[in-house]
């Protein structure tokens, strides 16, 4: 690039910088290290604040009639049949608005005049949403089926006393592989094995991928805020560029059955879904999912909550209760591929019910797996910036 452009750019920056210095400002600044929201951990649960101006609904109300029940969810993350039947039973239309990231969902919830009845947040954003007055407390008298959920999630660490949320699905992060090409699925080093060079993928997500590098190298500190450790994880990932020609993606459910990937860092639900993406003539036995049997795995859950703006809060509670029903949950599972966090869903039952092949039993999550595994927690904004920087550097591929 000619030096004149560099100079021009430099002049522009200095001009802008002097403008910014000239105007004194009292506005809030960039994220500070301290977060305004409590950071919950499995060993230090957070009770989320209740607000006087947001009461829970009274006991024993009858469901709202007519109109539209509005859901805010990821795409393809609830069975249309389940939703349709529920709507028919209660005489309402059900409308699903989708989002791709939770940030987008929060932006939609914060839009003035927007009203949603049921939202499907991940645990890491529930605290923000509660502090930011986007949610209403749940009235458990409407949720008798909450007892079907895993014991740990009836009173979860991210929302002590389940004030604002009920559990929805659970998943682990492991490695999906082609069982016809991988002789032994030994561990995370599958992704560091040059035999699969050019056919290896990482989840395109900073926290998931950098955590993988830490766990592979024996570190469990996947929520660290230490810059050196985060940078080290980035360096470990960078090994994969030369060694494996590593690629990034989130379509393991498609790439593994189609053979484009031999080993794919992925979520358990991806491999369960992969069963319906097999090309003609390819047997379901080619699909494998490796998940550590010790403490070095990553587990995650999703939840469901009622936004403050709900116009049909009673019906919203009833839908949540409906989704926690064992039979309904299993029907929903068969559509989404993501397993409800209910005690009735066991690996053995899923194999007998022909939900998954014997080989994919490892993709079913149990309360034991949940208890022994690691979780990706919400971290301070400053630390999140460090994780993003490490990821951006890895992605830049020097």
């Amino acid at each position: 690039m000619p030096p004149s452009i560099d100079r021009r750019k430099f002049l522009l920056v200095s001009a802008l910088a002097s403008v910014s210095a000239a105007c004194a400002s009292e506005r809030p600044r960039r994220p500070s290290a301290a977060s305004a929201v409590p950071l919950s951990r499995t060993d230090s649960p957070a009770a989320l604040p209740l607000h006087d101006d947001i009461p829970m609904i009274a006991n024993g109300l009858s469901p709202e009639k007519g109109g539209t029940l509005k859901l805010l969810n990821y795409a393809e993350y609830i069975s249309p049949d389940v939703v349709k039947k529920f709507g028919k039973e209660h005489g309402v239309e059900v409308e699903i608005t989708t989002f791709t990231t939770q940030e987008e969902a929060i932006a939609k919830l914060r839009t003035a005049g927007a009203a949603f009845d049921v939202w499907f947040p991940t645990p890491d954003v529930i605290a923000k949403a509660a502090v930011g007055k986007l949610l209403q407390p749940l009235n458990k008298t409407y949720l008798p089926n909450l007892g079907n959920a895993w014991p740990q999630l009836q009173n979860p660490f991210y929302d002590e006393g389940a004030r604002y949320s009920a559990p929805y699905n659970a998943y682990t992060t492991g490695i999906g592989y082609r069982a016809d090409k991988v002789k032994d699925a030994t561990g995370y080093d599958l992704l560091w094995n040059p035999a699969y060079k050019g056919k290896a993928y990482l989840i395109d997500d900073p926290r998931e991928a950098l955590s993988l590098a830490m766990l592979k190298n024996g570190s469990l500190e996947i929520n660290t805020e230490d810059p050196a450790k985060i940078a080290q994880a980035g360096a470990w990932l960078t090994e994969l560029v030369g060694l494996m020609s590593i690629k990034l993606g989130i379509t393991a459910y498609q790439y593994v059955p189609e053979g484009q990937a031999t080993v794919h860092h992925c979520w358990s639900g991806d491999m369960i879904n992969a069963q319906s993406y097999l090309p003609k003539g390819v047997d379901a036995d080619v699909l494998g999912y490796w998940y550590p049997s010790d403490t070095t795995g990553v587990v995650g859950t999703d939840s469901v909550a009622v936004p403050r703006t709900a116009t049909k809060p009673v019906l919203a509670h009833m839908l949540i209760n409906h989704l926690l029903d064992n039979a309904v949950a299993q029907e929903n599972f068969s559509y989404t591929g993501y397993q409800p966090a209910l005690t009735a869903i066991t690996p053995e039952k899923m194999v007998t019910d022909e939900f998954v092949t014997e080989q994919l039993k490892t993709a079913i999550v149990t309360p034991d797996v949940y208890a022994r595994s690691q979780q990706i927690f919400q971290i301070s904004p400053a630390a999140e910036a460090l994780w993003n920087d490490a990821w951006a550097t890895f992605k830049a591929g020097q």
Binding site: M1, K9, S245, N388
Partner: protein, 297 residues
């Protein structure tokens, strides 16, 4: 009608266009700047645009400039520039002869040929790219053909973060935008100028070199600008055919910052920096094409 009244009429006629540009370019662009120079909500960690320039904060923009000059974004910028230049070179090598043939020698079939060139673009972009993904698999038809003709000894890893694939995919995606403006400029060249050149003793080759090529310069510049701009902003082609850190382009990093995480101000700053660089290129194009037109006139 008075002169003044006429000016008013022209201004009125330009109004819809002006409105269009303000609503669909100026306002969104200002919004990007407001995010880049804005602040972060302490509860939701989401960007809060700062509409009042007196309160703009340039920390994020400075960080992006620093990283682009000497940090992790530097190779990304250089790589982007290299890919786009290579893709333009291929567009020129492939597109010029095609446009030339269409304008000069296609005769009655030129309408049909032009339509044929554009036909694949009736199919949705993603569908076409997905089709290529199948063709370029390690055991796909492209490799079958290369192996059969003994051009290679083992399958080419087209889709394993191969820069060649990214450049070729960019060419494939944008070449019609190169051919069409070039064709129209070649088509406008007065045949009599070439006849004059031949009368004055030029061979076919020298006539092309001294008459056709200089006269098509402005067409080439337009074609280059029209193809280069979207190539600089393209991230999806790269994601589809490579998805590897070895081929990351600027737009991929913009996508990363804007679609996820809590550093939208960095993504917005990167957009501004990229736009500033493209504006420099655009300004050069405007000056150079005016000069080229003057030469032609």
């Amino acid at each position: 009608m008075t002169r003044r009244g006429r000016t008013g009429l022209w201004a009125a006629l330009a109004a819809p266009g002006t409105l269009w540009i303000v609503a669909l370019f100026a306002v969104p662009f200002y919004a990007v700047a407001a995010v880049a120079f804005g602040y972060t909500d302490p509860v939701f960690n989401s960007p809060v645009p700062e509409w009042d320039p007196r309160y703009w904060d340039f920390t994020a923009f400075n960080e992006i400039v620093r990283r682009s000059v000497s940090g992790d974004l530097r190779p990304v910028f250089l790589r982007t520039l290299l890919y786009v230049l290579l893709a333009l070179a291929v567009c020129m090598l492939v597109g010029y002869p095609v446009a030339y043939y269409l304008a000069r020698h296609a005769g009655r079939r030129r309408g049909l040929l032009l339509a044929l060139i554009l036909t694949p673009w009736w199919v949705n972009y993603i569908t076409r790219m997905l089709a290529w993904l199948n063709l370029l698999q390690d055991d796909g038809y492209v490799n079958d053909l290369l192996l059969l003709t003994r051009l290679v000894d083992e399958p080419v890893r087209w889709l394993s973060g191969n820069p060649v694939t990214v450049v070729l995919a960019l060419v494939y995606g944008y070449i019609p935008f190169f051919i069409v403006p070039l064709f129209s400029s070649l088509d406008r060249i007065d045949e009599r100028l070439l006849e004059a050149a031949r009368d004055l003793g030029c061979s076919g080759r020298t006539a092309f070199w001294h008459v056709t090529l200089p006269l098509s310069r402005s067409g080439l510049m337009t074609a280059g600008a029209v193809t280069a701009l979207p190539m600089f902003g393209d991230y999806y082609t790269n994601t589809l055919v490579s998805g590897s850190p070895t081929t990351t382009m600027v737009a991929n990093q913009i996508e990363f910052y804007l679609l996820g995480g809590n550093r939208k101000e960095l993504g917005a700053s990167l957009v501004l920096l990229m736009s500033a660089l493209l504006m420099v290129l655009m300004a050069y194009y405007l000056v150079a094409s005016r000069r080229a037109e003057e030469v032609a006139a």
